[in-house]
């Protein structure tokens, strides 16, 4: 008997697995550590390979069509899906096919089924806000540090009584037949990697941070401004393989960073007049049809420098001096840039290591390894334990989706 199935992580892979299982009539418990689903995808505004927004999510039998925005994915209003945000797995016991899982849920203070986004609380108190128009569940979030008397008064006036500021953490224990690990990735924050100076100067940022700056609904309305002083950016430099392909950090290639960077380089070169972009790289890895991004970048006048950054020095005028060794010219070059963007490695998400040890799984560079039974079966991590998306290693959105479907396929086949 299949189900219920526990899915840990509600990013692209976890959400897909949940919806496919639910469609097939299997009850699923979808657990998300944060207060909104969507994972890293929610922070990106344009996605490759389709160059439209990242808020896309597959349709299902209940929500016909090929894809829908996150905000309309109705995860809290679907049969067979029990979505639990702000929730982590405390421990797992039992046997494959009948795991006992203990979950801990931190308070969200707002009942997502009751919140109607009417705007009463958000217009009157800073403590309440809509984290993103695309957030799912579609609900107001609470910043407990800003709760004052007015916030409490507002809460009591909520027309649906959705707000409970006295909520406390809770625990729940479930028995599930299968576990799907979809804990995703975390963008490596290269603090302490000396040559890049991340964390030491506000104009040194990562690609995910750049994605937020480019977002037209973001704080600067999509205009590129230097974080240090708000001056317009004239020159951007990107550097590839920060932490990746490095014996000191992550020996593997993070696979998506080249396309990710070139996507941003192209947006800047094509849509932001007059901003110069250069990319410092070792090998440009734009696989298959992603080569298009490289061709586009070359055509759009993006500069490519094969080599490595040797140091970044802040100047008094808010710019950065970047010294680069160019391996083609066998020379050191110096550039002045406004924004220095690090294409940082993908590292396993918080909590992945704990799951690996609790379930006795193998790891692969810190990610969950598929079982090594000779079948080269990408999505089985153990008996009745499956893994999909970037929990398995760096993956693009379409791969994560396909893997999630492969997981559901295997679960419906009886977990074999």
């Amino acid at each position: 008997m299949v189900g219920p199935v526990l899915i840990v992580g509600a990013g692209v892979a976890g959400m897909t697995a949940a919806v496919e299982l639910a469609d097939a009539g299997v009850h699923t418990v979808l657990v998300e550590r944060l207060s909104t689903v969507g994972g890293n995808a929610l922070r990106l505004y344009k996605a490759f390979p389709t160059d439209d927004c990242f808020f896309c999510f597959e349709g299902n039998r209940w929500r016909p069509g090929i894809r829908k925005c996150f905000y309309r994915s109705a995860l809290t209003d679907q049969p067979n899906i029990d979505l639990r945000v702000n929730t982590t797995v405390v421990d797992i016991s039992g046997t494959p096919g009948s795991f006992t899982v203990r979950l801990r849920t931190e308070p969200t203070y707002v009942d997502p089924k009751k919140c109607i986004l009417c705007g009463l609380c958000t217009t009157r108190s800073e403590a309440f806000k809509l984290s993103s128009p695309q957030c799912q569940p579609q609900t107001v979030s609470v910043d407990p540090t800003l709760l004052d008397d007015e916030a409490r008064r507002v809460a009591s006036e909520c027309p649906t009584h959705a707000i409970d500021l006295d909520a406390t953490p809770s625990e729940d224990t479930l028995v599930v037949s299968d576990i799907v690990i979809a804990t995703g990735y975390h963008e490596f924050k290269p603090q302490g990697v000396q040559e890049y100076g991340y964390g030491e100067h506000p104009n040194i940022i990562t690609q995910l941070e750049l994605a937020e700056m480019l977002d037209p609904t973001g704080p600067s309305g999509g205009v590129l401004l230097r974080p240090s002083d708000g001056a317009p950016v004239e020159r951007v430099m990107m550097v590839q393989c920060v932490g990746s392909r490095s014996v000191d950090h992550f020996p593997f290639c993070s696979k998506i960073c080249c396309v990710f960077a070139l996507k941003h380089a192209n947006i800047i070169a094509q849509e932001h007049n007059g901003i110069r972009v250069d990319v410092v790289y070792m090998d440009i890895r734009t696989y298959d049809r992603h080569e298009r991004y490289y061709r586009m970048a070359r055509r759009a006048g993006v500069g490519f420098i094969r080599g490595r950054v040797s140091r970044v020095v802040p100047r008094d005028d808010g710019r950065l001096d970047v010294v680069i060794y160019d391996s083609l010219l066998d020379q050191y070059l110096q550039y002045e840039v406004d924004l220095f963007v690090l294409s940082s490695a993908l590292e396993p998400s918080e909590g992945t290591a704990a799951l690996i040890s609790q379930l006795g799984l193998q790891d692969r560079s810190g990610f969950v390894a598929p079982v090594e039974d000779g079948s080269v079966d990408g999505v089985m991590a153990g008996d009745h334990v499956f893994v999909c998306g970037t929990a398995l290693g760096p993956a693009e959105v379409p791969e994560s989706v396909t893997q999630a479907r492969a997981v559901v396929s295997r679960i419906l086949q009886g977990g074999v």
Partner: protein, 718 residues
């Protein structure tokens, strides 16, 4: 027959700044409003009870509340709980499209009244739903028995399907049979294939057919007929099947036309897969004279990343080359291996294999090969090293070309009858690159593995497993029972023009030969047939149909016109109104997000949803002018991003273009109609588009043909 509907207005917890008193009064005067009621929280349990009550009492209901994208799932779930499916409810968005984007004003109230007026006019003509059942044989045909096809067959058999696994060659396993090692697993191709071939051969649900060539396919999901020829047989065979999975793999590029390499003339110049074959057969010698191999030069990107042959990267060749380089060193550590490359592309942990190869002494040269020639018994090669900025010459025993991976033969031919779309590079095109990778444009036809583009073994396996699920979901275990929402064809009205069959984004309408009977000279030989259960309900066939034979069962021509007329009730001489038809995919989302962000735009706008922009015909747009719209805009998904197989909004564009021509021809300003594309990450696109159309409405003034506005128009025929 126009039926009355109840109207339920929601105040969103008393937070919507609308004049509800005026709305109730004036809606109550409308003939088609059977009853008007206000509730503070329709989406909450009390409100849902009101929905149920009104639906039970009045049969049809119009709900004016927040976006239906959020409310409808909740209402549906509540009703389904009571056994009510497909209720006659029409949703009107008075929050994201009204109260959140317009300041309270008489104009905003008029917009609310008009929009509800349109909705009750539509609702009045709605047909009560009926359930349809269909049984589908639990049988699937897979074309190609490489790793993807084998894996898919095993998975489908475990899900309870019978499978015909067709293979063109005389053995199963495809390219993997000859791969000595597959990174990063370290296993050989035959090792990976073994368990799968065993499972396929021992399954009584899987019928393996070797030496089979698929000629063409007829029919549609649930009833395909696959026509094939088998080796040594004169007669064609036919397989009746419910779904087709394409798994034909890839073809290695043979670079005989690239003079610089001498492939095809010099026997010691081979392709990477030819080397794999040699190694897996335990041979390693110079093909020219059987001499021993001491030095090998591998050349990357042969044909790939080239404007002449294949523009894109073939993805696997770097890993292939490194696998073979390591395998060579494994056989004989004294062999010198050079790899000439532009960029080394090895994803994730394949990087470790790359590092290993460098540690084991593989010599990587960044540059390009200029020429390869023979002199005496030896092969010479001249290359440019871009890191050293120097030219070098080598004399290897073998030159191994990492040749591009191309689509297999027959993809284009099969597309003619199977109706899937083909990518610019000749591979099978996926339905939607981000989320619908293994599905194709044609319903019931799936594509997995390298036939969709170069794929690593693990990716092909994942594809195959995912496809099994999607087939299972599509066939719903063999029985579909539902209230269908889609196109219905009136056979008597069909004139056999085949526009619907040509342009349906998902290839649903089929042209069926008609039996005799009538006078041969007047008889229409072929007429369309549409299985509503296959229909994706975009309405493209409806907007194209010259005789009104196909119509969406939830949005007939009469319904859309009635809604348009109702929604333009207040348009008139001093009130130029902009009508926006928006698709319920990206455009609906963009408009909702603009609303959530409270992006203001003028209230002299009326918004009417359609399932896909392709549903809107030139006639629909002209009707809007007739009913009083000063300007009309179509809001759709981005170019190539249409949710309906990618092409619905191209049909919409054609309709808009035709309308512009008509307007010009009759002396109107063609700027009265425009199409805009958008997506929700950029809500400003909608705001600026509708602002532009409102401005044009003011500039151009009211429509020339509306009853109350005739003679007021500004266009001058020059």
């Amino acid at each position: 027959m126009a039926e009355k509907s109840a109207v339920l207005l929601c105040t969103c917890g008393g937070q919507l700044n609308l004049d509800y008193e005026a709305l109730v009064d004036r809606l109550g005067e409308m003939e088609l409003a059977g009853h008007v009621e206000v509730h503070d929280l329709v989406c909450q349990p009390d409100g849902l009870d009101v929905v149920k009550r009104l639906l039970a009492e009045h049969g049809r209901l119009v709900i004016a509340a927040c976006t239906s994208q959020k409310l409808k799932p909740r209402v549906d779930m509540a009703l389904q709980h009571d056994g009510v499916t497909a209720p006659l409810i029409t949703y009107v968005n008075i929050r994201e499209q009204l109260a959140w984007v317009h300041k309270p004003s008489p104009e905003a109230t008029e917009k609310a009244l008009d929009t509800v007026h349109g909705a009750i006019s539509l609702s009045a003509l709605a047909e009560p739903p009926s359930v349809v059942c269909k049984d589908l044989p639990r049988h699937v045909t897979i074309i190609g028995a490489g790793i993807a096809g084998l894996e898919c067959a095993v998975n489908l058999s475990r899900l309870g399907y019978s499978v015909a696994l067709l293979e063109r060659s005389d053995e199963v396993g495809g390219h993997l049979r000859r791969l000595p090692v597959i990174a990063p697993t370290g296993r050989s191709g035959p090792e990976v294939l073994g368990p799968r071939i065993d499972a396929v051969m021992s399954s009584d649900r899987i019928d393996v057919m070797l030496g089979v060539d698929v000629k063409f396919v007829e029919g549609e999901v649930g009833s395909f007929k696959v026509h094939y020829t088998a080796d040594g047989s004169q007669e064609d065979g036919v397989i009746e099947t419910s779904a087709v999975v394409l798994a034909m793999g890839f073809k290695e590029f043979k670079p005989t036309m690239m003079d610089e390499y001498g492939y095809g003339r010099n026997p010691d110049v081979i392709t990477q897969y030819e080397l794999s074959t040699m190694l897996s057969e335990g041979r390693l010698e110079r093909p020219s004279d059987g001499g021993s191999v001491k030095e090998v030069v591998m050349v990357q990107c042969v044909g790939s990343r080239s404007e002449q042959f294949k523009r894109d990267c073939s993805k696997l060749c770097c890993t292939f080359a490194i696998d073979n380089a390591l395998e060579l060193l494994e056989r004989d550590p004294a062999i010198r291996v050079h790899i000439v490359y532009m960029d080394i592309r090895v994803p994730f942990e394949n990087e470790a294999v790359y590092r290993e190869s460098r540690e084991k002494g593989v010599d990587y040269i960044r540059g390009r090969v200029c020429s390869v020639w023979q002199s005496g018994n030896n092969t010479y090669l001249r290359l440019y090293d871009s890191l050293m900025d120097q030219y070098f010459q080598l004399s290897p025993d073998l030159v191994v070309l990492s040749s591009a991976l191309l689509p297999p033969d027959g993809v284009e031919e099969l597309a003619e009858t199977l109706g899937y779309a083909v990518e610019y590079d000749g591979h099978v095109k996926e339905l939607y690159g981000k989320l619908r990778r293994v599905e194709t444009r044609r319903r019931g036809v799936f594509a997995i593995g390298a036939v969709t583009g170069p794929q690593f073994v693990s990716e092909a396996i994942t594809d195959a497993q995912a496809a099994a699920l999607l087939v299972h979901a599509e066939l719903q275990g063999g029985r579909i029972e539902t209230v269908p929402r889609g196109a219905v064809l009136d056979l008597d009205s069909c004139v056999g023009c085949s526009l619907c069959a040509q342009h349906c984004p998902r290839g649903v309408p089929l042209m069926i030969e008609q039996d005799g009977g009538a006078d041969e000279t007047e008889k229409i030989q072929f007429k369309a047939a549409i299985d509503i259960l296959n229909c994706h309900a975009c309405g493209v066939c409806q907007s194209l149909c010259p005789s009104g034979a196909t119509e969406l069962n939830f949005l007939t021509n009469e319904q859309l016109w009635a809604q348009t007329k109702g929604a333009l009730s207040h348009a008139g001489r001093d009130r130029p109104v902009t009508l926006c038809f928006y698709c319920e995919e990206c455009a609906a989302s963009t408009i909702d997000i603009a609303g959530t962000l409270h992006m203001e735009y003028p209230a002299s706008t009326r918004l009417i949803p359609v399932p896909c922009a392709g549903r809107v015909s030139a006639i629909d747009i002209l009707r809007a002018f007739e009913y009083g719209a000063a300007t009309v805009m179509i809001a759709s998904c981005e170019k190539n991003r249409c949710h309906m197989g990618g092409t619905g909004n191209e049909i919409a564009q054609a309709q808009v273009d035709v309308t512009k021509e008509i307007l010009s021809a009759i002396g109107w300003d063609s700027r009265r109609v425009e199409m805009y594309r958008m997506f929700s990450a950029e809500p400003e696109r909608f705001r600026s588009a509708i602002a532009e159309m409102v401005e044009r409405a003011h500039d151009l003034g009211p429509t020339p043909v509306h009853l109350g506005t005739a003679g007021q128009w500004k266009e001058v025929v020059s």
